[in-house]
Symmetry: C2
Subunit: 292 residues, 2 copies
Amino acid sequence: MTATQRISQTLDAALCGAASAGCPPRLAGAVRQAVFPGGARIRPHLCLAVALAHGDDDPALSNAAAAALELLHCASLVHDDLPCFDDAATRRGQPTIHRRYGERVAVLTGDALIVLAFETLAQAALLHPLRLPALLLTLTRGVGMPVGITAGQAWECEDHVPLREYHRLKTGALFAAATMAGAQSAGADPAPWRLLGERLGEAYQLADDIRDVAAAPDWLGKPVGRDALLGRPSVVREFGAAGAVRQFQQMVEEAVDAVPRCNGAPHLRELVRSESERLVPTAMRLDLARAA
Amino acid sequence: MTATQRISQTLDAALCGAASAGCPPRLAGAVRQAVFPGGARIRPHLCLAVALAHGDDDPALSNAAAAALELLHCASLVHDDLPCFDDAATRRGQPTIHRRYGERVAVLTGDALIVLAFETLAQAALLHPLRLPALLLTLTRGVGMPVGITAGQAWECEDHVPLREYHRLKTGALFAAATMAGAQSAGADPAPWRLLGERLGEAYQLADDIRDVAAAPDWLGKPVGRDALLGRPSVVREFGAAGAVRQFQQMVEEAVDAVPRCNGAPHLRELVRSESERLVPTAMRLDLARAA
């Protein structure tokens, strides 16, 4: 089975359990829409790639960790789209959850997805509990406070925003949780994997800033220029498009260099490079450099 | 150490870790306000009482389970107060989180509290992981979907609301998780404890409906008549105040009868009775019966 299939099937099984008999129909529909069809599922892919690099001897657990990461990511998107944050009208080419189901269901959808992430993990660990506490800690720290994505998002509500810290938390924290959880679900030490996740997460956030000013609306799936409109902290506004592209390329190189020595290293380096091309295609980089 | 001290200290330690260096100050302040000063902390008290009835051989774990229940409860209150739900101006005599810190911080506070609940549990289970998976499942099912408090809340977003199911989920689910988690944290079978939690939770929800029409504003700490104003499902509207009081008394009796045979049974029955008196004092019951 491919990694894509493993991720998709585990997410589907989690949703089927959560949205089973007795669940309010609108919440069930909203939760499904928040997860399917998904985006690139980069966090779960990263998690599984690291687990495989360490032998992946408990695939039920690594599948659950991968799915949990995606559910937590989807939860953050649903809440991020709310009127009080981005007030986004579309996501992945569809009306956002609050536009289709109302704001109350959207708040509850995010809550339910966070809970479902940890439930999925608990379910998979019933037979092999020993790896659960540390794995659960990695995920909760990646999304919580003081240094998870929730804290990252909360920096937007402060008068003074430390830009690199903001990026490190808002995106890097869950990427770091992804690489570390991959190692932990295979019984390996997570510490050597943190840097890869952090660098990749920062590259991802830089790419988001770059695409916010550069991309065509249909390519990104959400209205462009929105972050600028909202006055969000942005590397592009601070360093210009060309400066942001330079930082992005450097971050990708640092991510490649951060892949620890292991059997799966070449595959992981390839994953980092192909992701970076998907995020900010070379053509776009050249366009932006010319425009600068 | 008393149960009250155990709960308070565990919550304080969890918040200190979460709101430590690097945390955005407004989020840190909001999370603390959502938890301190608290209400009656009935869910954690219930959890510890059941753990003690089974010997409480891992107090770090039962403390963590108790604190997690309270953090999840506080999260639901913060989101419940949001403008799109109750739009409450005050909670426990203070401005609500969204009034003091803004709506964005309030959404993130709820999210962070949910995550912190599971992080607290993970931290306590690091040394004794065997009980964690089932305990974590109990908590996630109590707050998630299809039958946790999030699903209960989502019934408010449907056209047709099954009233008893709504009450069972919105309040009963987390009470049932409290009694069951108490048993599990002490290594005991949780199944015999479910009914007590469910009945007590239903009594609690009935009391909330009754107090919404009967109580003086300063006694309840939130504006009264608000649920009626919001058109929320209410037993009082359906069966009248006297009918609701009768149902409440019956539910309390069923809760008392549901206490399983164990060493701590007398203490638990006493806890149920004193809680019921605190929730709907006899004087109020008589007033309502007279007014009917």
